[in-house]
């Protein structure tokens, strides 16, 4: 039982990270039916900018925790700017010309450029991110949990809750929801839909950057950290359904937990298999995802 809980904890924290990145996919898909395939690189950049900011702040003799908290707004602003750049350079043109695949290539290309930039600026070796909280694990009835793992879960939930509140309560959020429901109609109602799409990209990269600074203290920061995570999160987005914010969170948890459980109870070599089987099953039986709304595309 103790082992089961221990494995569950690590599955949840990994799954939450998948969920936050996948949430970013969902944000842009709902408004523009496009995705940023450079989401993994947005995560990398967020973590690396966070690392630099934290290091500078620690240099100004702030404690690790304060440095981390003060670095967060910098990372958020950077993430939003990075997302805006992706939308301007990679997606806007494709949407305007109604290109079916132009944005796919453009966002992948931008991702590669960002990765190379990161390698150039921060070097190629993985770097240690100073942990904002004690790295000594807490002991809950024999189950060891690092404080950072709890922060990952809380931070991820707070981010998604924040976006949800913004969409429901604020007038700008309503514009986002309207655009997601029917872009043409929203445009006719006077909503500047292209601005809304830019905003959704900014928010999407922000969520990836947040995922980056959340996971960095328990792993390593480096130009290659986002690649595998971005891909996993894409699988999560498919499993959970690209049109549902709740879906991607649950999808993330499902994938994270099945990975850990298979690794422990079956064989660590087959850890990734059940997630991929689940992906295939979902694609065969419920292509819109577990929580997705099935849309009928009229041609």
């Amino acid at each position: 039982m103790q082992n089961f809980l221990q494995i569950l904890v690590s599955g949840i924290s990994v799954g939450m990270i998948y969920g936050v990145i996948a949430f970013g996919y969902q944000l842009t898909f709902s408004t523009s039916k496009t995705l940023n395939f450079g989401q993994g690189e947005a995560l990398t950049l967020g973590a690396l900018v966070g690392l630099t900011a934290v290091s500078v702040l620690i240099g100004f003799s702030f404690g690790n925790l304060w440095a981390y908290l003060l670095a967060l707004p910098i990372v958020f602003v950077f993430g939003m700017m990075q997302g805006t750049v992706v939308e301007w350079l990679g997606v806007r043109q494709a949407i305007r010309t109604k290109s079916e695949a132009g944005w796919i290539m453009a966002t992948i290309a931008l991702g590669i450029i960002f990765k190379n930039m990161a390698e150039h600026i921060w070097g190629k070796d993985p770097l240690k991110f100073p942990s904002p909280v004690s790295e000594v694990p807490l002991n809950f009835w024999g189950v060891k949990v690092r404080l950072m793992e709890i922060i990952i879960v809380l931070g991820a939930l707070a981010m998604m809750l924040g976006v949800e509140l913004f969409n429901r309560r604020s007038i700008y959020g309503k514009a986002v929801v309207a655009t997601a429901n029917d872009r043409d109609a929203a445009g006719l109602m006077g909503i500047n839909t292209s601005q809304v799409i830019t905003f959704s990209y900014a928010l999407s990269s922000l969520s990836a950057a947040l995922a980056g600074v959340l996971i960095a203290p328990i792993t390593l920061t480096g130009a290659n950290m986002g690649a595998a995570l971005g891909l996993k999160a894409f699988a999560v987005a498919i499993i959970g359904g690209l049109s549902s914010g709740l879906g991607v969170v649950v999808g993330g948890l499902i994938l994270g937990i099945t990975e850990s459980l298979t690794g422990f109870y079956f064989d660590t070599g087959y850890k990734d298999v059940p997630g991929l089987i689940l992906l295939l099953l979902v694609l065969s039986f419920k292509p819109a995802g577990l929580f997705g709304k099935t849309a009928i595309k009229k041609v």
Binding site: V14, K124, D125, P126, K128, P137, N224, A227, G263, D267
Partner: protein, 401 residues
Amino acid sequence: MMLKSRLAGAAMAALLSTAAMAQSGPIKIGLSGPMTGGSASMGVSMRDGAKLALAEVNKAGGVLGRQVQFVERDDEGKNELGVQIAQELINKEQVIATVGFINTGVALAAQRFYEEAEIPVINNVATGTIVTRQFLPPEYKFNYIFRTSANDSIQSAMVAEAVKKAGYTKPAIIADSTNYGQLGRADLEKALTERGLKTVAVEKFNIGDTDMTAQALRAKDAGADVVLTYAIGPELAQTVNAVVKLGWKVPVMGSWTLSMASFIDAAGANSEGVLMPQTFIQVPSTPKRKSFIEAYQAAYKVDRIPSPVSAAQGYDSILLLTAAIEQANSTDGTKIRAALENLNNKIDGVVTNYDHPFTATDHEAITSNIPVLGTVKGGRVVPANPADVEGADALRLKPKA
């Protein structure tokens, strides 16, 4: 018919003239290794060490009266990229030999092209046991693959011996899923069995995995009293961190990669005390080692060499190769191979002194008596047993055949 033979003649003439041009320019040696990604600290140190040797050779007048030049390529530790680079170096750059290969998988995938083109390769870091045994006679006429690193059968034997000596009885192996990790794991299991030890758990993870709790917990649950690793820097750090997170106090030993800077930096205090075989430790225990360490620090403005083993082996591989070219008195691959197999000059290297390091049937410059056990202390690799690098023991030579 007439036209055809004329065209062929023209093509021949063009080929001859490029061959003639190659004769006068610098001698080109290929250098293939990962300069980016998880193995980068090894690739970069290997390259930088090799460059120091190259600079010395060129300063002393080069080889065959010509300067020597590297054609460097970043294979990113990816097998398919290694293959592309091999083809480019052979066909386009027309290198006369290649040094490098950090990753066993890349070496195994790319070496075939050198073997076919009869161009010698000196592996100066890759340790997979079968790396030098891919093209053995009589199936192949000659074997063009040489090595200046301690192969996995040597390393796993050392690790298994250390396990036995310390009296551990329940070893668990945690290895990555690459060719390196899995071939090494097989060697390690064999070495343990030979010593009457049986593993209680054998776990696996992928490159880029961020959470090794499941692997560590399985090993712990199986009652392991020592954890043995076969992986590279960043994932090794995750593994050790997971072990510490579980509050599990267990000794960790493994292949030489536990000396990588990326492991030591990322695991921090958790890396202290791990044990691994090393062909070279950054300690000035011989005059040659002292001058090498000082030259490296001055040239690259670092205090700690990111991967001292790779740097030293890279340096030595160039000394051996250039000596062989000089002895062959030719840039022809077959003749260089023959010279490597019967190297008359004695060469003082950083790892050891080489006196006929290779023969026609033995392409391994490093024997099991050469490496020593290293450990991590204060964020640096130091000899686990300081007497190993003192006095007469400092310089260990390959026994005469």
